[in-house]
Amino acid sequence: MQYEPEYKKRKDGTYDTSKVKSIKVFFVKTKDDDNADSLLKHLGFKSDDKGYGDMKSQIEGAISNMTTSEMGTTGILASSLKGSVGGVNIGGAFTTIGNLLGEQANYDASHPGNYSSKDSKGPSSSNHDYGDCTETTARLSFGVPRTDSLASLGTQDGPTGMDERFIGSASPQNGNLRLLDAIRYNGNGNSVNRHYMSVVFTGDDGTTQAFSRSGNGGRFEVIRADAFNGSSYGNIGGTSTKHSGFYRR
């Protein structure tokens, strides 16, 4: 995957590079034999998933339209993919992720030094539909529309908490993850410290990348799924010892 900023266009047609409209996510070929099947595999889909054939044709069409120049080969704009595979809207997922990463880029631009600061934050969570990791994961992984308020959602136990409201029992194993599967960090047994993310992509080496917001008012970021293991978020772990810590809607 490759990330490129889309800047805000001025009235005169030029671009204002201080204002990011969104971060565009591209799928790029890293090996000669990369194809539609291998991309869908990286996204975690199987050939018998509903919509697989249509999506494969769409990706093959996009690959045939790729051009190569001295700058390299163009990629497939992830948000441009239409339709769903196995009930997952690939283009929609990357549109949301790209928009939120764009908000983060704008926040960093208006707060110089934030990106690498020792106290890095994200856009204000007040009046934000993606205020923290629970809201972000509930909307992305569990399809809660922005019109539905998630004001009382949090990491707490009980009926208003993320575990009871959304985390079910469909718990795929690591190595069998697909786009938008939810990841749960167990908070070392302390519900205050739980963390949730959404799977984005698994690379050739088996490394899974995931998207979330790190805390209330924290950063929107794509990061390795297991990067927080050992931190105050605890380790990836399920609501039951029988669960892997990864969940599917």
């Binding site: 490759q2 007040s126 949090g154 208003t160 805390g215 209330n216």
Partner: protein
């Protein structure tokens, strides 16, 4: 093959580097210093290494008046490694924040009620007098990766080892984020500010996050030694 974990403690004086650094690390009223770091390799495989850091921390009141702190344990919400170039520029090598998310519970309202009294309750708060310190131990950890992804701003573990010794800071959450909101309003610092005004005559209530002063750390000291079975 048996893997045994090698534990090491190290410290370097930071005064020289701080004197030459362009960044001011101390806060106006209090400062957090890392007295010692104990590193332990929890897990290592071909892709990553998980480290545990046991930190001896001291919070010192550097102001002329009392400083009120909530609780005795403070959550670590950011861990940073950086180096300082010859031209005094700071280059961040690794930075990963672990801020807490929403936590909506009746316990929060009860705690807010118990705190919202005229005098800071001694069961929930601690007042540091002018020059007084409070020391405690904090355990935290991170997983470091042996290769760097294109989109990853954090350098790979092997690179951190090469650049080591490097400076480390941690950020402490001095007042839990879930208490620091106005009930049902999700407004930052509303409750902390409320307490700050209420407790003014007893001292300054510190509710903001605080970045520790840096410590120079040799990450090469955290290694896994492998021994053959006897």
């Amino acid at each position: 093959m048996i893997k045994s974990y090698f534990v090491f403690i190290l410290l370097f004086g930071t005064e020289f580097f701080l004197a030459n650094s362009s960044q001011v690390f101390a806060n106006e009223l209090i400062k957090v210093t890392i007295q010692s770091v104990e590193m332990r390799v929890i897990k290592e495989d071909s892709k990553s290494v998980q480290l545990e850091f046991s930190l001896d921390l001291t919070i010192t009141n550097t102001s002329k008046s009392g400083v009120i702190l909530y609780g005795k344990e403070f959550e670590e919400i950011n861990l940073t490694f950086f180096k300082i170039e010859e031209n005094k520029t700071e280059i961040v090598l690794y930075n990963l924040a672990t801020r807490g998310s929403n936590f909506v519970s009746p316990e929060v309202l009860t705690l807010q009620k118990n705190l919202s009294i005229a005098k800071p309750p001694s069961t929930l708060t601690k007042i540091l007098k002018d020059g007084e310190s409070y020391s405690f131990r904090k355990k935290t950890g991170r997983t470091f990766f042996k290769t760097q992804m294109k989109s990853d701003s954090n350098v790979a573990w092997q690179e951190l080892l090469k650049l080591s010794p490097v400076f480390m800071t941690i950020t402490l959450e001095m007042f839990p984020h879930y208490l620091n909101t106005k009930p049902n309003a999700n407004a930052y610092f509303a409750f902390g500010k409320h307490l700050q005004k209420k407790w003014k005559k007893y001292g300054y209530f510190w509710f903001d996050d605080i970045v520790s002063e840096p410590i120079l750390l040799d990450l090469n000291s955290a290694v896994v030694k492998t021994h053959l079975k006897p």
